[in-house]
């Protein structure tokens, strides 16, 4: 054995040893969920996003915690993630904003990304996607499918962003079906399947033949509609149609995978910066779920055409003149309600049966 062979052997042995030694992950990402990651809704959309990030960046490790209450518990969970080495934290619920801001100020070297937040600090970025255009499209599809011209919506709370979604939905429905009416039931909470089932049944009993839902998990409402032979539209997550193989119309869903991959890459290469990201139909944060068998082909092509108009900026969901459901003019002819002011939309458009507060 000559000297060269010995060196080669040593080098090989060294390589093998370093390869076998447990490699430190390049980045640990911590994500907190307010509910269950199999809810086919809000939480599963975030969980799917983080899974997509893991597929794109196998060297990144993930610490995922479900059912974290909003408040001091969330702070403790974030701190324990940081102690375990997390350098990017995604507190994936609106109510985690204040706890996340407090933790972010204590750990300036850790980066945070918060969905829907309205406050930022240098190491906390915020992101969301604009949903009214999507709801307008769902309204068009539902307006074409409904036979009773009544659509029921089970909504958690009358907060302005949800009212904006409902308004856009009703305007979309009216654009193809002037007789379409949207009825609302607020359950007062983001997760109470028993109340959601009761609300859904009450709406069906009032003659609604399409049900929509703005709570964390669409399962109960979509399933209740399917059992009664009614149609349904979903929200949050692309996989909800498995609960309504016959009555499914469509849904809009958040697809966070690419965004989470970008966040992780930015933390890895040091380019992470605090900004307010707002996705739209035209980018990769928002998707329209495939149409179900109930949607006729002409309705599908109408919806797709409108989608292109929204993406191209040639259409606006809140194009005046608009009256609210008490008859007061809210948007003048020729004007639009700016999408940046959705937080001020405290009224329901004509054709919606419900109380905005």
């Amino acid at each position: 054995m000559n000297a060269r062979a010995i060196v080669t052997t040593l080098v090989t042995a060294l390589l093998v040893c370093t390869g076998v030694a447990p490699a430190q992950p390049k980045l640990i990402v911590g994500i907190l969920h307010v509910g269950s990651i199999t809810d086919a809704g809000y939480n599963q959309a975030h969980a799917d996003g983080i899974q997509a990030m893991k597929r794109n960046l196998p060297e990144v490790e993930v610490i995922e915690v479900e059912n974290v209450p909003e408040g001091a518990d969330a702070e403790r969970v974030m701190e324990s993630m940081i102690k375990r080495g997390a350098r990017l934290i995604i507190p994936a619920s609106f109510g985690y904003l204040e706890p996340a801001l407090r933790v972010a100020q204590r750990y300036p070297e850790v980066k945070f990304a918060h969905p829907g937040g309205y406050k930022r600090v240098p190491n906390l970025t915020t992101y969301w996607a604009s949903t009214p255009e999507g709801f307008y499209l769902l309204g068009m599809a539902a307006g074409k499918v409904t036979k009773t011209n009544k659509i029921g919506y089970v909504v958690a709370l009358p907060i302005s962003f949800f009212l904006a979604n409902i308004n856009a939905f009703e305007l979309g429905a009216r654009s193809v079906n002037p007789k379409a009416e949207t009825r609302l039931v607020f359950t007062g909470t983001f997760l109470d399947p028993a109340k959601e089932a009761t609300a859904a049944t009450a709406l069906l009993d009032q003659g609604a033949d399409v049900l929509g839902v703005i709570v964390d998990s669409p399962i109960t409402v979509v399933q209740t509609a399917e059992k009664r032979g009614a149609y349904s539209v979903g929200y949050h997550y692309l996989g909800a149609q498995k609960f309504a193989p016959n009555g499914w119309i469509s849904g809009i869903a958040f697809t966070w995978g690419n965004l989470y991959t970008r966040f992780a890459r930015q933390v890895l290469d040091g380019s992470f910066k605090s900004e307010n990201i707002l996705g739209s139909l035209g980018d990769d944060l928002l998707a329209i779920a495939p149409f179900g068998p109930a949607v006729p082909a002409d309705a599908a092509s109408l919806v797709n055409a409108k989608r292109q108009e929204f993406i191209g900026g040639r259409a606006h969901p809140f194009q005046g003149p608009l009256k609210d459901n008490t008859g007061v003019e809210r948007v003048k002819a020729g004007e639009v309600f700016p999408l940046t002011d959705l937080g001020k939309m405290n009224w329901l458009v004509e054709g919606v049966v419900g109380q905005p507060r």
């Binding site: 269950s36 009825r183 009761t198 009450a202 009993d205 009032q206 209740t224 109380q355």
Partner: protein, 208 residues
Amino acid sequence: MFCGVGLSALIGAPYIGRPITGLAELRVPGLASIPVLGPALFVHDALVYAAVPVAVATWWALFWTRWGLAVRAVGENPVAAFAAGRSPRAVQYQALVLAGLLAGIAGAHLSIGVAKTWAEWMTAGRGFIAVALVVFARWQPLRAIAGAFLFGGAISLQLQLQARGVPISPFVLDMLPYVLSLAVLAAWGGMGRQAAPGSLGRVFQGQR
């Protein structure tokens, strides 16, 4: 209570996001087709029909059987019951298991009867309304039937009123069951105290 919530979350985790076939609706032949009253009273699953008979059976067991006498005696004065040869602790545990069983069935009904899905914390504190119900009923199972209809009706009514487009704020409607509970507790509070078992909440320090 939180132990139960955590345990159910642990066991229930695989059921989240899975449809449950649940209990079938049983239509009472003939009666179910009566307008308004038919769907309200005669199109339900088996557990709904069982609820009233169970309350009546509880009343019968409490007031017309030897065992019920023991339960009430232990509630009023465990020392006296002990002197009469009853084991207060055994009676208390029997009552506890039975109450837990019934409450468990009630909670399960939310999942397999009403929503036909399962989610963590889906009872959403409804059990506390049962406490108000006991005070309302003044520890009398027959009165509890009326109370259950009243409280359950209030929860359901606010959703029904919204679906009918009644112009009342959803926030006000959402308060209905709680306002009702408070009103009942305030109005009947004095009498409730007299109706409550004398040794309620006290620990029996005896031998068995």
